[in-house]
Subunit: 319 residues, 2 copies
């Protein structure tokens, strides 16, 4: 986790002059997000997060992401709203890179979530799904099921085997059946698609913020719940499943939005798919990150264990 770009105080002060937010008082580069640079900015009026989009984030998607934050904030979801500049623009440019100023939200991310927090995040996710129904924009999920074969092929079996000798076969074993069983007609809309505990802020057991919407896209709501399930209900290595967190998460979700029978039935395959998505993105990152880089490489095998758990347990993972 690193700040990629240096921004001088003078550059920051002149950027802030383009907004009606007061004068610069303090700016700290913060270690948040993995592909953007972020600063915690204090002005004479308030605090803000400044994000500079370094890579991965397709700039043409920024209106989708930043507009989504505004839409969700307006409907009462705990997401940071975008600060518009004096001309109403959602983003600006510094040194040829896009930057956006967003609201600072209080709260901390749990490293060992409680059942009460899992329930609260289930509720918040369901509210987010209800709120995106009225967001008119769409964005293809470029980490969605249709793209998995290409990502696996781009990694290549021999490279995948350097991560773990069993990995190419595991991916092959599951990819075909996943794609053939993949449900295509579930209720859908804009989803977060990456709601790990890192991306949720809590004050006590209340969700004070959902952040990092840079994978948000149009997909099945139940797939988003499955991603959240895979992200919240296991220890980091995917070795220990926590049935209490699982129950609390699904119950919290359904308290706000009932799953249809089709969604309920699809959860095991969706959760296997969510695991496959993180196996593939982590494998791709792993193979493209130098071994001695300071960024932590995330082990794809943590999600192989989740995939195998969901495969073994089927519907019982959600009871």
């Amino acid at each position: 986790v690193a700040v990629y770009t240096h921004l001088g105080a003078e550059q920051l002060a002149s950027l802030l002059n383009e907004y009606d937010v007061g004068d610069l008082v303090s700016a700290k580069g913060i270690a948040e997000g993995v592909s953007n640079s972020n600063w915690l900015i204090e002005t004479t009026q308030d605090r803000f997060i400044l994000t500079m989009y370094e890579r991965r984030t397709d700039i043409s998607d920024l209106p989708f992401f930043l507009g989504l934050l505004d839409h969700l904030a307006a409907t009462g979801c705990p997401v940071p709203k975008t600060i518009h500049d004096r001309n109403g623009a959602l983003s600006r440019e510094i040194d040829g890179k896009a930057v956006a100023l967003i609201e600072f939200l209080p709260g901390v991310s749990p490293s060992a979530p409680s059942a009460a927090q899992a329930k609260a995040v289930g509720e918040a996710l369901a509210r987010l799904h209800l709120a995106t129904a009225s967001y008119p924009e769409k964005r293809i999920n470029d980490m969605g099921a249709a793209h998995w074969p290409a990502i696996a092929a781009a990694c290549g079996d021999s490279a995948l085997a350097t991560i773990d000798p069993s990995l190419p076969q595991t991916i092959r074993d599951h990819l075909e059946s996943l794609l053939s069983e993949w449900p295509r007609a579930l209720p859908a809309g804009v989803v977060h698609a990456d709601l790990f505990p890192d991306n949720v802020l809590f004050v006590g057991n209340e969700v004070s913020g959902m952040i990092d919407f840079y994978f948000a896209c149009s997909d099945a709501f139940a797939y988003d719940l499955a991603v959240t399930h895979a992200a919240w209900c296991f220890d980091r290595k995917g070795q220990a499943f926590d049935a209490e967190l699982s129950h609390a998460l699904v119950q919290g979700y359904q308290k706000i939005r009932s799953l249809t029978p089709e969604e309920r039935t699809a959860l095991p395959v969706l959760a296997k798919g969510a695991s496959m998505r993180f196996i593939l993105s982590r494998a791709d990152d792993w193979l493209n990150t130098p071994e001695d880089a300071l960024v932590e490489r995330k082990d794809p095998m943590d999600f192989v264990r989740r995939l195998e758990f969901y495969d073994r347990m089927g519907d019982r993972a959600f009871s």
Copy 2:
């Protein structure tokens, strides 16, 4: 620049319980300092910086550093005071590493300081020197003149030559004369010894904070001014000297504390020595940092240019 250690929200909350500072509201890993991990912490009462000492900082020196902050803050210097825990301790341990909670100070570091800011930092440095007179602790300057030959020898000529073919000869040319001319009887006390613009916070042209005291040590006051001169009065590469900043810095210093004739005379050799100190520490870091690490390697040659400038200009660099 990176946060080295992950600290979970639960660990942070329980750490803060050992202090009388309110409850945890927000925590962001910040990219500050090069050898420690730092977090900007918000509680229900106030904001703080939490520092975890990773390496380089000798833990046995912590009482010196943290006691110095308290001493300086009590005399009105703009430095962050140390927050003591409920038992009065200046530091605690997490996972076997020392941590300290210090005051958060507003302000930003200039990347292109103005003359008014150079004057203000000169004044602040002189006030710091007057204030340390009553600080009873001592600490040997382990980056001081007596240690330079050993650092150069540890690097080795052939390794130094990989940085720049001229570097071993440049060091040899200056090291002996520097040590023979080095003034030994100048007014001395505890000095900052690393007061780069990065380590000074401003609100407008007022110094709101001097930070990062982890090289503070007992040495000549005029050497500290020479370090600050070398750090502030050139462009980053050491190619362009700014006479206006130089004049403002020395004038600001002398407004608060007059240099003795011996100190005034010694400034050129002290500034060459300050340049040598950063040539050697940067060379040592350079040779011990992998080429593809995400941390920026600082070029020792930036200070060779300063050394040669001071050698060429002598007293005229301070007029």
